[in-house]
């Protein structure tokens, strides 16, 4: 046999590595690839499915003017249901805004302390503590707003009801702060040590190094941390459902109850008939939330990547 065509034989058996292992390898590679792109599939899937459910409303009852500019959310009015999310957007925005007022100084301060001042064991302990704080479930935060903050606010400020912008804003701020702290600390860590060394060599003290060198260099990362905090506040559901007071209302003061976009979906989806305009309107709010948080996350990511490259 080999005398007839030795070359051909060796080509097909000796050098060809396409044995069982080769096929298994290719098979695994394709499976792993599908898993790899699953995140893309799911993101598209989420958008497609919530759009599909909300489409009927978007095509028939949806009016851009009413949806975004009317402060009246009265979907269960039998004669003239009205689907305006202005008050809900105001509710979400006021609570998120207050949460950021609470969270930004504390989380940046804590990040600077943990990243620049604390050392060794203390830094480790603080980081673990911050990580644990970030793990407290949102329904527990909501319960805290309901059962601990509520009576506290009534006592302290002498108001009839303690479920309002103030309550939800503080709760949301405490929730967002640990996450913002760890992202901000990462941003500080991304500033190369040689920047610090150069500044110290010029005779700068520790705080001068931080304020004149580290913070300007970490500016984008810190902004990214704040944006991610905003995104989280926007999307938070259970805590704002339980702590805001859940009244459709454009807030005039910190002590007004409000209602958030997310909380509206959570409170009403269970009571609506599948396929009804109300049900579809809730999915339309979902589309709106999806797009807003998508844009916030995208911007945050682009800003943060910016410094990594630069």
């Amino acid at each position: 046999m080999s005398a007839i065509n030795p070359l051909n034989r060796s080509m097909t058996t000796d050098f060809d590595s396409r044995n069982m292992d080769w096929y298994i390898d290719k098979f695994v590679q394709s499976i792993v690839f599908v898993a790899g792109i699953s995140a893309i599939i799911f993101i598209i899937g989420i958008f497609v499915f919530i759009t599909m459910e909300g489409l009927g409303f978007l095509l028939e009852d949806f009016s851009f003017r009413e949806f975004f500019l009317s402060p009246f959310w009265e979907p269960s009015d039998e004669d003239a249901p009205e689907y305006g999310i202005l008050a809900l957007v105001a509710g979400t925005a006021s609570v998120t805004g207050l949460a950021m007022v609470v969270a930004i100084p504390f989380s940046l301060g804590a990040a600077i302390f943990i990243g620049e001042f604390a050392s060794g064991k203390m830094r480790e302990y603080l980081k673990v503590l911050v990580e644990l704080l970030a793990a407290i479930p949102s329904v527990v935060w909501g319960f805290i707003g309901l059962s601990i903050m509520n009576p506290l606010i009534i006592d302290l400020f002498d108001v009839p009801v303690g479920l309002n912008v103030l309550n939800a804003g503080i709760i949301l701020g405490l929730m967002a702060a640990p996450i913002m702290t760890s992202i901000a600390e990462d941003a500080l860590k991304a500033v190369p040590d040689r920047y610090r060394e150069a500044a110290e060599a010029l005779g700068a003290t520790r705080w001068q190094v931080i304020f004149k060198t580290v913070l300007p260099a970490a500016k984008n990362g810190l902004l990214g941390a704040v944006l991610l905090g905003v995104g989280r506040g926007f999307g938070e559901t259970m805590a704002v459902l339980m702590a805001t007071g859940h009244a459709v209302n454009i807030p005039g003061s910190l002590f007004d109850p409000v209602r958030a976009l997310t909380a509206t979906i959570a409170a009403e989806l269970g009571e609506t008939a599948v396929g009804s305009p109300h049900y579809q309107a809730l999915f339309t709010i979902g589309i709106f939330l999806f797009i807003i948080t998508f844009l916030i996350n995208l911007t945050a990511d682009l800003i943060v990547r910016g410094i990594r490259k630069g």
């Binding site: 590679q29 499976i31 979906i265």
Partner: protein, 289 residues
Amino acid sequence: MFAESALNIRNKRVQNLFRILFLMMTVLLIIPVVIILATLVAKGGSIISIDFLFTDPTNGMTAGGIFPALLGTVWIVAVALLASVPLGVAAAIYLNEYAGDNWFTRIIQLAIINLAGVPSIVHALFGVGAFVIFFGFGTSILAASLTLAIMTLPVVIVSTRESLRAVPQAFREACWNMGATRWQTIRRVVLPNAVSGILTGVILEVSRTTGETAPIMFTGAAFFLPFLPQGVFDQTMALSLHLFVVATQVPGVPDNLPFGVALVLIAMVLLMNSISIAFRMYLRGKKKW
């Protein structure tokens, strides 16, 4: 050698001032949470007992224990893990072992970040639209778990990727040089060296999944059920939703009951997290390369 100048002294003073200011901010961030946890323990501690954990709620959920909710949470978490761990680990293997550093990988990473950033209630809407209605699972453990699995997928992917990345490239090269295929290298060399790191991420995911409420409200968790789930197509009670229900929906609940439920929930979540963190630190200390 040098006498301290007035400027030096002033600078030092300013520095100490800032040090204390930032320390205060860190402490102020932590103190409210410590107070809150202490209040939970003080108000809910009295109701916690073996009976509380292992009996059914009675009297329209105003008395009795939390057993069905506890068991339901275990069901939901277990099924969610079965779906998300294989998928997440495979995705991480693709990203770390196969994907190049190009625009396509970048898009996958963006998708992962966004998947983690989508509001939980939007995940719930997706779960209703996709699993409950489109795939016809109905409101069931399966629908709830799959919704949670997709939501927590980024946790598994990110932590698995970290631990794969920690395996030195030289290990892989040595293996390839002996003629092993990529998959043989991954299975025999990379995964065994990364498995404990992956486990850390899985524990973290368990903790996340346990606490989530919004995504399961409409996909599979029920306010109250008189029976325990028998399979993945049954509805179930869940601990996180149970806290919401006894805190807001049921009139006449004694004060310490919701505090007790909150305490059990938070204890489970923090315990899982602590195990994960401790495990991670132990591994870091043990690392040989």
